[in-house]
Amino acid sequence: MAKITVKVDGVSRSDEVEPRLLLVHYLRDVRGRVGTVVGCDTSNCGACTVLLDGQSVKSCSVLAVQADGSDVLTIEGLASTVDSELHPVQEAFRECHGLQCGYCTPGMIMASVDLLNNNPNPSEQEIREGIEGNLCRCTGYHNIVRAVQTAAATMANGSVGVTA
């Protein structure tokens, strides 16, 4: 067992974990952040995407011990309470019907947040390539692309968030 200290959605905590425990299972099973989900075992689907020290990572391809001392942001930390402000990307996904079953959605939103942090004004092609590592079986991506465009526009207008 290894001792790690990880800040998850603003809360720091120390835990004893098996060295082989994946970050995604640590987040879900140990820290109770079940918004982040698992869709594959080959790091292809992106359903498990979170921000690790501000950068999007597939949390199924990181060991929990590798996250020792890090700051992790999950979908549940993006809008910190149910009633708090949604992130513009979350708001845009809802506005543009960018989800159906919603299973890919947390990962898709986290990947989009990272994309927009790095490129606030992406072209359609850049959006498509930016979320290429996140698979969605329901939406055909059309509305996801629109959601990212919409969020980019909102964020460019200086708004950091809109009320839920």
Partner: protein
């Protein structure tokens, strides 16, 4: 929308944001795998790594592994575990192999479950799998579906004496008679490759036992049907079992099952009296959740030289895989009545062989039988058009059912209630810029542009909302076609809608709220929907085959009518008038001719609950249920047009433009309809260009992860142009026709027609799916070698 304007005075028909999204975009979700309970044990299944073998299992070593509580094989359960279910006797002589949930003495596909480990954590359960010892005495594997039919081929099931499940030939010789009059007879062979549905959420099951009953949470499309099947298979009484489908991360048919894992999870929870959880990995999922399609079609059409279609003959071989799942055997028959599509013809013959092989069982995948049929029909129409030198849309127009000819009985006996193929096609052509793109195609052909433009047409129809129950009975399907709804009216006039149709991403909560808000005149926000839990919704037939709105929504509307009828009695009693003197609109009863005399439905609810002064003998409740059995299927249709740029030097195809004009009848929420169309198109493009479940000759699935099985990403797909025409269904109270499968059915032939159209000047008349760059490049290279005189894109059509 072109023919009808959306209603602006109600929420019905409005693109309202979905009620279900708030929890999904914030991660406050209820996936089955989120459930953690004290003492919960985790299951892991040992699966066969060999396609066909006799087995001997020894679990002793695994049982003493750290963290392991128990290890079970078939011998531990014996008769208790029953056999997997199938739901359709397609033919009186049909062969039905027995399929125990855990293999007893023989395995028949890679991935077949053999034993289960029960442990304190999922990691520990997986660790112990390797300690189970199995002796595999390999048997010859039957992989090729055609070879499987040959004399002397090894058998998948010795006890059946054949690899054929059934052979069905439609009666009569109408096709031969039609063919005798033909100027042109064209024959093509198409392959519907094996597909893997790949819903993003892998399957998960949690079973919580109490003293003598069980709650099962499962990532299923069919909690109601599942409960019945579990009862029939395991003998655990239906009344002692609650099945819940919480948030379900997509299905596409793959979660219409009573799976081995669900059965075994229930038995383990029963035996150990502790909650258990099973959550599959993606690789397990790819091997063992049923696959879709996998048919070989040989289609012959007969026509006159002016393009008049005379008849069609379909020879089908369907690969069922190793065993029968719920609708495995029936899937080809779902397509039997759809090959004739939207066309009139005099002759039709359907000849279907269904075959067992040592592969994962197939079953319903988005569209189930209808995508296969539509593909065959629409590819043949394009082939005929090319052969005759006609425009493919002109050829279709010459042969389709005209809008004034509905209702129309097709050659295969379906009754299409309504449709307007002219309107959808005209709109689609306009949005596409059909003539301009044809002109550009011509220019590229003439200039021998290495990048050729192809235009693909698909004017499709499908059949939704499998029903009526009586007809299903005549076809020997062990299921009804009805759906149930219940409306509960609370004392303050809020509404709970209980539906037997179980969503997995389709937005029932929103659509049902819109329906009820419109019907009862109660605010959209005051309506809640309960679904997917047999405790709150005791009866239902769940969600598949685009039946939700058409059948389930109709039940909701009919239940609302009963609520209104009850409220009317209360209003008439209170307002002291005849029931016939009351008008009901926007949630209020008014006395005809005296608009001041008025009672809101919420006031009726309150008065009914108090029950101080309601009509004599009236039950003090507005709550109502309705079980709706449709009188017919519904037939949405549409015209999809696709332009593809094909680089003839690299074989790379890129979709340049995709236009979908769908007619799904009356629309409750256009946002949801559009979303369904987008997702369907993407899945259909997946079949056309990317996806294929492949086995090697030993029966190993070589596309067993998302690394090898390519489901399209955002970068692989374009944005779509979508629009609608609206021809209401005349056979249900909403006028809706169903949309869940439309995009998936229409897009595959549209895309393949476009790719073939691009390279047709080389003499190419088909490219097998998926049309990967490698396949396109190979086809072009071989065509150049075979027809040096074509030599260029300009070379003329075959």
């Amino acid at each position: 929308m072109t023919t009808t304007e959306a209603k602006s005075d109600t929420v019905f028909g409005q693109p309202l944001r979905r009620k279900e999204d708030a929890h999904l975009i914030t991660g406050r979700t209820r996936w089955t795998d989120n459930i953690q309970l004290p003492g919960m044990l985790h299951l892991a299944f040992l699966r066969s790594p060999i396609a066909h073998a006799k087995i001997t299992v020894d679990t002793a070593a695994a049982a003493s592994y750290p963290g392991v509580v128990a290890v079970y094989s078939a011998a531990d359960f014996g008769a208790e575990m029953g056999f997997m279910a199938d739901a359709w006797t397609c033919h009186p002589d049909m062969k039905k192999p027995l399929n125990p949930p855990l293999a007893t003495d023989e395995v028949r596909y890679v991935g077949e479950p053999i034993a289960v480990v029960v442990a304190e954590s999922r990691y520990a359960a997986n660790d112990a799998l390797e300690a189970i010892s199995v002796d595999y005495d390999a048997l010859p594997a039957v992989i090729d579906v055609e070879a499987a039919l040959a004399d002397g081929t090894p058998l998948v099931h010795d006890a059946l004496g054949t690899n054929q499940c059934y052979h069905l030939l439609s009666p009569g010789d109408s096709y031969e008679a039609a063919k005798a009059k033909a100027d042109v007879v064209l024959k093509r062979r198409f392959r519907q490759q094996r597909l893997i549905p790949a819903a993003m959420e892998p399957r998960a099951v949690v079973v919580v036992p109490t003293v003598d009953d069980f709650t099962m949470y499962s990532s299923t499309q069919i909690p109601h049907v599942l409960r019945v099947l579990l009862a029939l298979i395991t003998g655990v009484s239906e009344s002692k079992m609650r099945v819940v489908a919480p948030d379900v991360g997509g299905g596409f048919g793959s979660k219409i099952a009573c799976s081995a894992e669900e059965i075994i999870s229930l038995l383990v929870a029963k035996r150990l009296a502790l909650p258990v959880k099973w959550n599959e990995s993606r690789s397990e999922s790819m091997q063992t959740v049923h696959h879709g399609r996998d048919q070989i079609q040989e289609i012959e059409i007969a026509a006159k030289s002016d393009g008049t279609l005379l008849g069609m003959k379909v020879d089908l071989i369907a690969d069922l895989g190793a065993y029968l799942r719920l609708f495995t055997a029936g899937v080809p028959l779902f397509g039997a009545a759809m090959f004739n599509a939207i066309y009139k013809m005099e002759g039709y013959q359907f000849n279907c062989q269904t075959v067992f092989t040592n592969k994962c069982p197939t079953d319903a995948y988005r569209g189930a039988g209808r995508p296969e049929a539509t593909f065959g029909a629409e590819r043949m129409m394009d082939e005929l058009a090319a052969h005759l030198g006609m425009d493919p849309l002109e050829l279709r127009e010459k042969n389709w059912i005209k809008h004034e000819e509905f209702p129309f009985t097709t050659i295969s006996g379906s009754v299409y209630d309504s449709g307007n193929y002219e309107a959808a096609t005209a709109r689609s052509k306009e949005l596409f810029g059909y003539d301009e793109l044809r002109a550009e195609q011509q220019r590229r052909r003439e200039s021998n542009d290495p990048v050729q433009l192809g235009i693909g047409v698909s004017t499709f129809t499908e059949a939704c909302g499998l029903a009526p129950s009586r007809a299903l009975g005549q076809l020997n399907v062990s299921a009804g076609g009805w759906e149930r709804a219940e409306i509960r009216v609370t004392i303050t006039g809020k509404i709970q809608v209980i539906t037997g149709s179980t969503p997995h991403g389709q937005g029932h909560l929103t659509a049902w709220s819109q329906l009820v808000s419109d019907k009862l005149g109660v605010p959209f926000e005051d309506i809640d929907v309960l679904a997917g839990d047999t405790a709150s919704s005791p009866q239902g037939l769940d969600t598949y085959g685009s039946r939700s709105l058409v059948v389930g929504g109709s039940a909701v509307v009919k239940a609302c009518d009963k609520v209104i009828a009850k409220a009317r009695r209360v209003a008439a009693h209170t307002l002291e008038c005849d029931e016939d003197d009351l008008e009901f609109a926007n949630g209020a009863f008014t006395v005809k001719g005296s608009p001041g005399s008025k009672m809101l439905i919420q006031e009726c609810a309150f008065a009914t609950h108090l029950a101080h002064n309601i009509p004599d003998g009236m039950e003090p409740s507005l709550n109502s249920t309705y079980t709706y059995d449709p009188i017919n299927l519904s037939y949405p249709h549409g015209t999809h047009l696709c332009a593809v740029e094909v680089d003839t030097e690299t074989g790379f195809s890129k979709i340049r433009k995709y236009v979908a004009v769908d007619d799904v009848g009356v629309v409750v929420n256009p946002l949801i309809v559009e979303g369904q169309v987008h997702g369907g198109i993407a899945q259909g493009i997946g079949q056309a260009m990317f996806e294929e479940g492949l086995y090697d000759e030993d029966g190993n699935l070589t596309t067993g992860t998302f690394v090898d099985y390519l489901i399209p990403s955002a970068a692989d797909l374009p944005s779509y142009i979508t629009d609608r025409t609206e021809t209401p269904s005349t056979d249900n109270p909403i006028g809706a026709k169903g949309v869940g499968e439309a995009g998936c059915i229409a897009s595959t032939p549209a895309v393949v027609n476009a790719i073939v159209d691009a390279v047709r000047p080389f003499g190419i008349t088909d490219i097998p799916m998926p049309c990967t760059p490698e396949r396109v490049w190979r086809a072009v290279s071989e065509a150049k070698k075979a027809h040096p005189h074509h030599g260029s894109a300009h070379g003329g059509a075959a």
